[in-house]
Symmetry: C2
Subunit: 341 residues, 2 copies
DNA sequence: CTGAAAGCGCTAACAT
DNA sequence: ATGTTAGCGCTTTCAG
């Protein structure tokens, strides 16, 4: 009878039909997928672990793009996509343990995330996206350092030397305010760490002392965070001529706060983002575009690809693109700003 | 040993630790979730069936809002959310059969969808969202008829009598063009059927013969579809003073096409949408807002709620809201349009 | 083509 | 407090 469902070719169509009809009449609901999974050792699904609440993921355009790509790859392979409820506040790892999946995609979690540890203990393959940068696991990402260096050099060419930075959370502990160099270097989010390090390098090349550059951290990744961080930055150091944000969401918030305070962009202040989300392009934000959808797709492909047998972990590094918008321009000196050109 | 993992309270912490340590040292990866599911008869996950390709869902803001709400509800209950790869083009129902879930949420599928039939055969609860309107299943939706009637009366009060309609697909077969009354009445998508029926009623009340109202159908739910449908509508009947669309996505496309042709909105033509997505509010589209996120949340709650035992199906009907924007105004007569006011 | 049986890894009930 | 066992429903293998 198992054959009737699973191997239509092994018996006559007529018999098959008879068996299936009878089964249905007897109220048999079809093979139990869980029992089948146990036996065949495959679940037909990919698990996705995110650092944020599930619902947040749907509010971040970059995350949605990633999901779109990942869903595409899963769909192509006939696999489902299981979103795992991993509340970053809790250390409850049960959801990872009880996910019936053939593998995991881990999207942008801190390197000390207990859920990540739980994933790594499961005897199924995993692909890590963006961060952390574990050497033993397949990985998809971009060259964060090179990408943001391009942006930094763009500003340097325009003449900026006094900048401020707004970044996303650097650790699982909340810190809304200035981030010390130590905190920057020890950041548990590889992406943020790499971007800050690259910025410090790029500006060191033109003689800027990174210790003097204010870096404001925000735990929540929202436009409101970007706005308040921009305000804090301007108050902390009124002489900065540019604000570099490590995401478009933060930059868009900063942009509206700066304008709300009556300062013109880019004449009075330059603002840059990172990601290249639709809204950023719409308002002409100067930023770096990264292929978020492709990232999801690549992660899914890597996980589901048959050629998974090779010993050493594979790595996919996707290209990024500088998007010169209308929010970056040459700085005016302090004198000019107060007394006119 | 099972106890060590599942019932920490049943044995001494010390022993528990010893057992777990030994297990790990022996390379035991923890209890297999699939075997556990088989035994306990629960998967800890909710399946979501969509009418579109998975990846499409992430491009439609209304669907993303729904997902956000559903994910929220699942998260609250500690359940995962499994996105089921149900390609609407294929009749391949295997993905539904092999989904290890405790229940299904079905989002906006046609009433003759084979995947839906497969879901109904599974011996787990289901909640249907928006459509179809099956009497035996729990349901979450809005009063589509009442909602769009409010919009229709708004236009009628403004003086519109000659309108055109752009609607989404009415069946699983592609028909990009006029939809006959018969096709409208027999539509397999309950939501579209209800909205068209309500429009016909509302306009019948002021003496408009629905047979004379052009209804243009589009299979793909994109702004481009809305644009080309608007063009077709204007060519088909240049005298119409208003275009009512059954979604904001279509309306936004129509809006830009109409403007591209040099006609002013609403002076030359009134345009309305449906859903209340962010982009619609941003451009001031006259539309109806429905609480998409709440819809997802309600669907999840209904499915996961313990009080599932009652005999008759439960129904949640959410409120909608007329959003008078700047794309609806009084019509100008044909004479005015050609010879000025 | 059909039937019987082993066993996937777990949990819950029962026995010690 | 710990050890033993039946069986969840399926697929696969082997014998008829």
């Amino acid at each position: 009878m198992s054959n009737a469902y699973n191997r239509p070719d092994q018996l006559s169509p007529e018999l098959r039909k008879r068996v299936l009809d009878t089964a249905r009449r007897l109220g048999y609901p079809g093979p139990d997928p869980v029992a089948r999974s146990l036996r065949t050792r495959k679940a037909g699904a990919v698990g996705l672990l995110l650092t944020e609440n599930l619902s947040y993921a749907f509010r971040d355009p970059a995350a949605v793009g990633f999901l779109e790509g990942l869903a595409l790859a899963c769909e192509d392979a006939g696999h489902g996509l299981l979103l795992i409820p991993a509340n970053p506040e809790h250390e409850d790892v049960a959801a990872v343990h009880s996910a019936g999946v053939d593998g995991f995609v881990v999207y942008s979690v801190p390197d000390d995330d207990p859920h990540l540890a739980a994933v790594m203990e499961r005897p199924v393959p995993a692909v890590i996206c963006d961060q952390p940068n574990l050497s033993e696991v397949d990985r998809v990402g971009i060259d964060d350092g090179a990408a943001i260096k391009g942006l930094a050099r763009h500003l340097i060419e325009l003449g900026h030397r006094k900048i401020g930075v707004i970044c996303m959370r650097l650790a699982r502990t909340r810190n809304d305010g200035p981030a010390s160099s130590e905190r920057q270097v020890n950041a548990h989010f590889h992406v943020q760490r790499a971007r800050l390090a690259a910025l410090s390098e790029a500006f060191a090349e033109v003689g800027v002392d990174w210790e003097q550059v204010p870096v404001i951290e925000r735990f929540d990744h929202t436009p409101e965070s970007g706005g308040s961080a921009a305000a804090q930055l301007m108050e902390l150091d009124p002489e900065i001529t540019a604000v570099m944000c490590t995401s478009d969401i933060l930059a868009l918030g900063a942009l509206s706060e700066v304008r709300r305070q009556g300062r013109r962009v880019p004449q009075d202040l330059t603002i840059t983002g990172f990601d290249g989300i639709d809204d950023a392009e719409r308002v002409g934000l100067t930023t770096v575009r990264q292929p978020v959808m492709e990232k999801g797709r690549a992660a899914g492909r890597l996980l589901l690809d048959a050629g998974e047998s090779t010993g050493k972990p594979r790595e996919v590094v996707l290209d990024t693109q500088l998007v010169p918008g209308s929010t970056a321009g040459a700085p005016r000196s302090v004198e000019e700003r107060w007394f006119g050109p």
